[in-house]
Point group: C2
Chain length 244, copies 2
């Protein structure tokens, strides 16, 4: 039987191993929500890079460059980490280099995986439908916050565990923790998250509209997948889902 595991923070990734697994990278607030939004709105590709310098050097080569540190847009870049800025028509057909505090670091730690895809509430059902057909084991990698566990990524991991239902085994206590947390929260994610550390941090930055946007389910029926170092829209025919 295939297996689904949840790694609650990239700081624990070495305990799991990514070889031969499909890794779903999750950074709900806001990196993977932005990636999904951008590709859904016509961005050609997103190049995730771990460091600010690498991102700046891609900017110097002509790429549009997005950089977030500590919840804010870093100085000297074109974009920050708000999903709304990824809907801009000027980005259609363009490639965007992107670095964030947690999300792009998680991707860079998953290099040896069989496949790396991007998950968010915005494309939840598309991701679940795709994972259900996988021949490989699945590892959900939560980006967390600077190595610590966070609620919103854990909740989304729980949504994926729920989505795998009885098709996948889970002998992993983190998966059961995430699943249980999601059961407690799914009726009203915003309310449940209102006390989370990251939501409080973002609220201070007045990013309430971003948070509300990122907690919506199934806005987009696409899956970002990493191909040769760039996140692009998966070309496989995705099952049609009722997109809001």
């Amino acid at each position: 039987m295939k297996n689904i595991e949840v790694c609650l923070t990239p700081a624990l990734i070495d305990l799991y191993g990514v070889e031969n697994k499909v890794v779903v990278v999750v950074d709900i607030l806001r990196a993977t929500s932005c990636m999904t939004t951008g590709l859904a709105h016509g961005v050609k590709s997103i190049i995730p890079v771990a460091g600010l310098e690498e991102c700046r050097s891609l900017r110097n080569k002509g790429f549009i460059a997005a950089a977030e540190r500590d919840g804010k847009m870093a100085d000297g870049f074109d974009l920050g980490n708000s999903p709304f800025s990824y809907m801009d028509k000027s980005l259609v057909g363009k490639s965007v280099a992107m670095t964030t505090t947690n999300g792009t670091q998680a991707i860079s730690k998953s290099g040896k995986a069989a496949e790396i895809i991007i998950g968010s509430f915005l494309n939840k059902t598309a991701v679940i439908n795709y994972l259900l057909k996988q021949p490989n084991d699945i590892l959900v990698l939560c980006a967390g916050w600077k190595g610590q566990v966070n609620l919103e990524d854990t909740l989304f991991a729980g949504a994926l565990v729920e989505g795998m239902g009885k098709e996948f085994a889970s002998e992993n206590d983190s998966a059961m923790t995430a699943y249980t947390l999601y059961q407690a929260a799914k009726g009203d994610l915003s309310k449940f998250l209102s006390n989370s550390s990251h939501v409080c941090r973002l609220r201070k930055l007045n990013i309430i509209k971003d948070i509300e946007f990122c907690l919506q389910s199934d806005i987009y029926n696409i899956i970002p997948v990493l191909k040769k170092g760039e996140l692009v829209k998966m070309e496989k025919n995705l099952e049609s889902i009722a997109v809001k």
Copy 2:
């Protein structure tokens, strides 16, 4: 306001820091349950050591020595990791050197804390009553399983977060995760844990009686505290609680 944080595995302890905090070390199945049981039944002290060799060398110096690896008693030692073996009358007034897969490692990582105490369901209310009077911040350190998060330690952390109520702030998402998990499980801990990885592992070793014992609340009104490298019964007058 004082703060309670939860560190879900010793692999993440460097993200927290233990200085000036009371650290509650938790390894429900079974190290901290054994420590509590032993001191409650008259063991004079328990010397937690991280390695098998150090434990063996204390045995050669005349100490009774307990060693567990991978759920089983290690070869060449006097005791394993069953709480029932710590009730033996031959241990009354004696010091026991002890090493376990996870629990004693967690203690050794907390060296710089203001105080290190031992928590388990067996002495839950005694620990809560003591923590409520603390002037220091609290860090609950779950021993986990070989670096990974486990359910039973996370649940007990959640019980402590619940116990601190509104007296302590918790801006820590791990604490909220643990609290939520405990709310889902507290009605029937055994049932909730029946799918956990560690309970399945121990069941294969036929340690069902140990598991049932360790999940009982408030059997003992004592708190093991680390003094000069040895766990001893805390001498402060503990509030009387209704012990079963």
